[in-house]
Point group: C2
Chain length 502, copies 2
Amino acid sequence: MEALNTLKVIDIGIDTYHEPVVYMRSDCHICRSEGFTANSRVAVDYGENQIVATINVVDEKVFEPGNAGLSKIAMQRLGVAEGASISVSHAPVVTSLAAVRKKIFGHKLNDEEVTEIVQDISDHRYSDIEIASFLSVCAGSRLDVDEIIALTQAMVACGKRLSWPDSPMVLDKHCIGGLPGNRTTPLVVAIVSTAGLTIPKTSSRAITSPAGTADTMEALTTVNLSLADIQRVVAETHGCLAWGGAVNLSPADDLLIRIERALDLDGEGQLIASVLSKKIAAGSTHAVIDIPVGPTAKVRSQKEAERLTSLFTQVGAACGIQIRCLITDGSQPVGRGVGPVEEARDVLAVLQGGNDAPEDLRERALFLAAHLFSLAFQERYEQGLERAKDILDSGAAWTQFQRILTAQGGIKSLPSADFQHTETATSTGTLQAIDNRQLARLAKLAGAPNVAAAGLRLHKRVGDKVERGEPLFTLLSDTEGELQYALAYYRQANIFTIGVVS
Amino acid sequence: MEALNTLKVIDIGIDTYHEPVVYMRSDCHICRSEGFTANSRVAVDYGENQIVATINVVDEKVFEPGNAGLSKIAMQRLGVAEGASISVSHAPVVTSLAAVRKKIFGHKLNDEEVTEIVQDISDHRYSDIEIASFLSVCAGSRLDVDEIIALTQAMVACGKRLSWPDSPMVLDKHCIGGLPGNRTTPLVVAIVSTAGLTIPKTSSRAITSPAGTADTMEALTTVNLSLADIQRVVAETHGCLAWGGAVNLSPADDLLIRIERALDLDGEGQLIASVLSKKIAAGSTHAVIDIPVGPTAKVRSQKEAERLTSLFTQVGAACGIQIRCLITDGSQPVGRGVGPVEEARDVLAVLQGGNDAPEDLRERALFLAAHLFSLAFQERYEQGLERAKDILDSGAAWTQFQRILTAQGGIKSLPSADFQHTETATSTGTLQAIDNRQLARLAKLAGAPNVAAAGLRLHKRVGDKVERGEPLFTLLSDTEGELQYALAYYRQANIFTIGVVS
């Protein structure tokens, strides 16, 4: 029976993102005898490797009988080339789906059940709709502390884990996000590592924002570091600013986040497990979590921030990492630049102490660094703040930042955008509010983060007086088309609220 | 800007089932300027028509720049042919997803929210993962009676609706399912319509079972009837036995069921709305619902059956349809045949009153018909049963059945399977149990329902004495390969439990 199930691989040239697809002819003997139809889930075997894939049925014109097409991710995960022989059979039963159904029916999951679910997701046994089902019934505060702890530990267990035998204390920071700009991480790493503390920071690229820390750092240096590179850079400088994606710290989380974003779901349990699993896998012992609160930030109320603080602290304690949550002002962007290169300019300005350095970004970075010092040296916040200011104002942090960049592969000069347009205020008054979400969308329409130099630069902050005709922001883009497209969006959006002087 | 978004259609020959896919080159100017990547959701416009589709990115080798491939369902829903010009832009925001999030967070939905969700699903605005999310948070008894009523009415509102101005009373029946065989519908329709009552029955094809009523009826006559055909047949005979899929009675439900099956979710609210919306859309005023209860049936406990009964009755009353639920024995198959043709043989045997007619199928059909008579004529069940028996035993139902088949397009003769194998008992004793689910799977592996003549015929029922070497069942298939494959499954399954005589 086995030989009957063999087909030759065709590289069909289609990128189906994370979900592997196998393309089979409707008259294929395997489809007929196994009863496979469009959307059936099947096991595809090549030598020792097996993946679970979804069938798309194709016309006779697409390829000859005896062949099967594979999407890019399917070929990659099987490690197969065109012409190789694969076999296709019924997908194995995924037993952990019984636990998902248990959760659907409102029951609490135990550690073993959570572990089995995360392991199966990490092994790519779940289809996208199965992941969506699991995430939906866990969102909305439906995971209790025990379940979040189990989820965090299961995520750590299925990925790589860094260890720092020479550093009894390893620091980290995280921001819950939702504010454009706010690129504090490079500053915090430079300040904290100058003091000799270990802070091997791995960051993500933008998922829905105009820039992630990894995107901003990539405008300045190499971020695609291997595990060995990270260890070398940290040995030399105590810090690093690398992209986390290359080191596979929490592969299950990467698969979950993709569906969470598509569903626009922010399940708190999932969020906490996602953040802490990556911190624990990175070997961190102490971390500060920045939780900006504002009407257009990710966290919108003080109450919600306090609930997150409580959960983060409890889960962290259970998993052996000390967490300090800091609830901050999330009413407007932090810094002037939005987009990889523009945010890098703000970071450099703060490090170099120039007159154009955005004061709010400087203060936010000092605040976070001071709390890390307070944790690390068991000192009062005020002492930590003095320490951080001294390091920044003396130029030591700037020197240290250059050392880290050099160790990572050198310092790049920042590119400029080919097209720019400055938009002015149409009325006089006081700038009362900036919509974080719409501003982020504006920067993305201009091309950020795919085009590093694209984005925008703010000329006013909330509270500033604005005269009619004064510049509000400058939009930066690589093409005239994108610039116009973004401006068309700006004109129908409502990003800046200017209160008229009475 | 508009003209820039235009691409020429390529029929790429891929069947992606219900989810439309647009295939775009990674270097396509639209992908670049709009920031589309693999899995982005986009709007595709052709003239007045618009669909929402998912992007799969393709290599340069697949087609030339300036083109976009469309999957079959995408071409069909846009009504477009190869070479036509389409435009691709950002998918519109689906506002009802806010209501889905409200449900995720455990809040009750009001009528407007449910209506908006169902309308958007019916308009194909939801991706598969969004439907999965909605279904998951509604399953597990998370919809209350008000929400189920709203869901039922919303499903009716977005489909076609039949009306029977000449019939103040329109009857219907439904079985919750889970038992192989149990093909009572053709018998009930024949008996009830003989009495002059209107019963315009539309049925589904098999989704996960070895045969649906529409599959069995298709072995006997034409079932793919238009609305006009159904009205003509009912005008002539008071009854019909048509496939419901051609008349689009509940398009939202068809989209939901597909994902429900893939997730193996049986949300009770969804089940009730699905069944009742189709009854109401078909114009029914009175219906009986058969709820078989057994350890391997769909409903496994008396308590669950009673809860369903209560919900069905309440929701029916609110939607203006009188429902009588009947809790029946679901411990084993009903009838001897499993698979479209074999079940048709049982139906004909009962109608013709032959010696080989399965008594259990005859009794189940008389029971259901008697309850419909009791509802329609407001008479006691015993009176209804006498009436039903008279009609069946006199041969009137058989005459009526032939009239319906003739009106639908003629009577087909039943085909025979090319390969068969009779399996015998390996021990002597009493047949104590038959596993419904595994038996259904055995029939499907033999080729049912795609191959109408495939399936099996049982030679023993629960309670029968079995001698070692006596026939248990005959397996029927169109290919030797499928027959062997099914037998290999049978040998590792545990379908028949024979209690040894002590």
